[in-house]
Symmetry: C2
Subunit: 416 residues, 2 copies
């Protein structure tokens, strides 16, 4: 373990103690001043971001990735608006979720408290820097940010603006610490820092997430990958099915709640496929089907075994034909990533059974999988979408960044 990361951990832990005691108004004012200063320092941030963009171009980075990296006035304003929205949310810290009096007179309450220190490991988008800080700060946590090397100048600029703003409010600068050394060793050290980091949240591609999940001894909240299915039941309203499929696949292709696979009941396949194809063709979506699907039209190309488990994040979708609801559920539970799954049906019993038996964070009846999102669920914020079962599952709002503590009021009780 390198000393560099150990020092960062210790400083963050120290700051977290102060943060846990900040009042709701102090945190709110802290977020608002950061928003104000980000807008005021727009030129400085853009100038530093320009250095990252130039360097990326020189290295020959793909246009789509440069788009994610590049900031402009609008995007910086969006960051500020994001922080203002977080400031306006209800603060979950300090809520006593339940309090009971035991027969011996002990009053036992369960109180919501900050986690402590949250580590975020992410890739190129610099807006995550402001956003992750905002959510962690609102919940009284210190944040250690390890962004990608591509965005290092942008991240340094944003974090320095945050630190200066907090300073004006006499809030510890170490409330947010950027890991400026972007070598892989630092990620490795961060994953072993159990003494100081309470939870690690990786945000990014499947490779990044798998690395953290497998190698971290710090507890991890796994986010992200979504191989989401839509099952068109034999009792589906087929026009509704086609409309929902078009939306779930094409409304935004590169996101984890987009639909990547269709499962169609054979009783309705012949009628359903032309309706679905008509919708998807408009968006130039390639369909890869099993043998039976390919039998309906030459416009469907053969799928390989690999296709069933694939999160395309692109204009491709797979299609499997099944003869029963049972088969559909088995296929989905075998290949899904525990994110979002939907059934289209007018049949009451099938609707409930699908919701019961499909193992995923969000299971829909007659709606698009694209709704799996903290804002769409009404949480007002989102730190990611958990695809694991412990602590948090599905879209994570502010509460996922807290834990609880039992507070017990006695008057001399001893155990008999």
């Amino acid at each position: 373990m390198g000393e560099y990361m150990e020092i960062i951990g210790r400083r963050a832990k120290e700051a977290s103690k102060r943060l846990a005691r900040l009042g709701q108004e102090e945190k709110k004012r802290g977020l608002l001043i950061v928003a104000e200063e980000l807008r005021r320092k727009t030129d400085y941030i853009l100038q530093e971001n320009h250095r990252d963009v130039e360097a990326a171009k020189e290295r020959g980075m793909k246009r789509s990735l440069i788009d994610r990296l590049e900031l402009n006035e609008q995007r910086i304003n969006d960051m500020a608006v994001g922080l203002e929205q977080i400031a306006a949310l209800e603060d979950p810290v300090g809520d006593v979720l339940s309090m009971k009096t035991r027969p011996n007179g002990l009053q036992i309450g369960k109180k919501r408290v900050p986690l402590g220190v949250v580590g975020i490991i992410y890739e190129s988008r610099p807006n995550v820097t402001a956003d992750a800080f905002g959510l962690c700060f609102k919940t009284g946590n210190a944040t250690i940010l390890r962004g990608g090397s591509d965005a290092i100048f942008s991240n340094k600029a944003i974090v320095s603006v945050i630190k200066e703003s907090l300073c004006k409010r006499k809030i510890p600068q170490d409330s947010v610490i950027l890991v400026e050394d972007t070598s892989r060793e630092m990620v490795r050290d961060m994953m072993q820092l159990r003494e100081y980091i309470d939870v690690l949240i990786p945000r990014g591609g499947a490779g990044l997430i798998a690395n953290v999940v497998e190698n971290s001894s710090v507890p991890v909240i796994e986010t992200g990958t979504g191989n989401c299915h839509i099952y068109v039941d034999e009792y589906a309203n087929l026009n509704m099915a086609a409309e929902i499929i078009e939306n779930a696949k094409t409304q935004r292709m590169g996101v984890c709640n987009a639909c990547e696979s269709l499962v169609i009941h054979s009783a309705v396949a012949e009628q359903a496929i032309p309706l679905i194809l008509a919708r998807l063709k408009e968006h130039r979506v390639e369909i890869r089907g099993d043998e039976r699907a390919c039998g309906y039209t030459s416009e469907i190309v053969p799928a390989t075994e690999e296709d069933w488990g694939k999160e395309y994040l692109d204009a491709v979708i797979s299609m499997k034909i099944v003869d029963s609801m049972q088969e559909a559920i088995e296929h989905i539970n075998r290949y899904n990533t525990g994110h979002s799954e939907a059934i289209i049906t007018e049949n009451y019993r099938n609707a409930l059974r699908f919701q019961e038996e499909v193992d995923a964070a969000a299971v829909y009846v007659n709606a698009s999988t694209r709704f799996t999102d903290g804002f769409e669920f009404g949480f007002g914020a989102e730190i990611g979408i958990s695809t694991q079962k412990l602590h948090a599952r599905g879209p994570m709002g502010l509460e996922a960044l807290t834990t609880t503590k039992y507070i017990i009021f006695g008057n001399g009780q001893i155990r008999m």
Copy 2:
């Protein structure tokens, strides 16, 4: 990864799908028949247990450890009673914790569901076998049990009785699987079985727990070690303090919620120490103090740095004198294990500040730390006491063995 553990994982996962769909009555009847059969097969279980005990004696195992390993009619009856109590508890599975309608008409509910497959890694006490099965089964989970090699014949006997009983109720035998190969490789393989095991719970000594926490890529719930402090404030009722300290230290010495360290405010040390000593001497508890504590009486022996972080689980306690509440809190937050901490005080402000600033699963005012326990907290059961912050913190009842799933009822909604 060995094939042996992979097969166990796959079978448990398969069984977990059936278990998740069992009704509350079926699970209740399953637990009751297991209890009945354990009583009926007492002779068989005792005979197999005898083989373990004989082998342990031959290996020269310590008497206290043999005590933990040895069963008798009473202890088997206790296991059965334990299962009957679990059967009588309210079943948390299927509860919809909240359900809201969004502006677009989507109804989004959060439903409590089983985790899936729970792995328990434990040491010599065979009663854990029946107990862990009971809690996991009640919550609709399949269980993989990896007990210690010392208790292998006892565990095999208990698990075979459970399997036969479940069979009579047409419940899958793989609802509980004992890892009969007790080599270390099996533990290592179990910790990598992310595909099939949803959570690992280590129950046992600090070494076992640390090994699992550090090396498992399966999510872990950390339980157990408790370096619990009692702080005697300058505004303490000193008789109450002495009584609570006696109880917390001596009512049962070998448990994680026993008090291991005293922190005494200097303003009351001279009066408090004789009262505390009188109580602890009756139980032959050795007191290891800092320099100032030793200055009050020669009956206190000097503590070393190592003592502050130690969970003795024995007739020893450490004592530190502080000049302020601030110093007490800093000492406790530095050395505690996040389990249970108490303040004895009549001062309102100090009581609340201690509860606010001490970082632990349970923070007491004027009561014994010995109450940190699922039964004492009114949960009616306990799978362990979590000292981590994610998922569950403090005593874990049935709810800690569940997760949630979002169920969404739509009527054609698509995202705009």
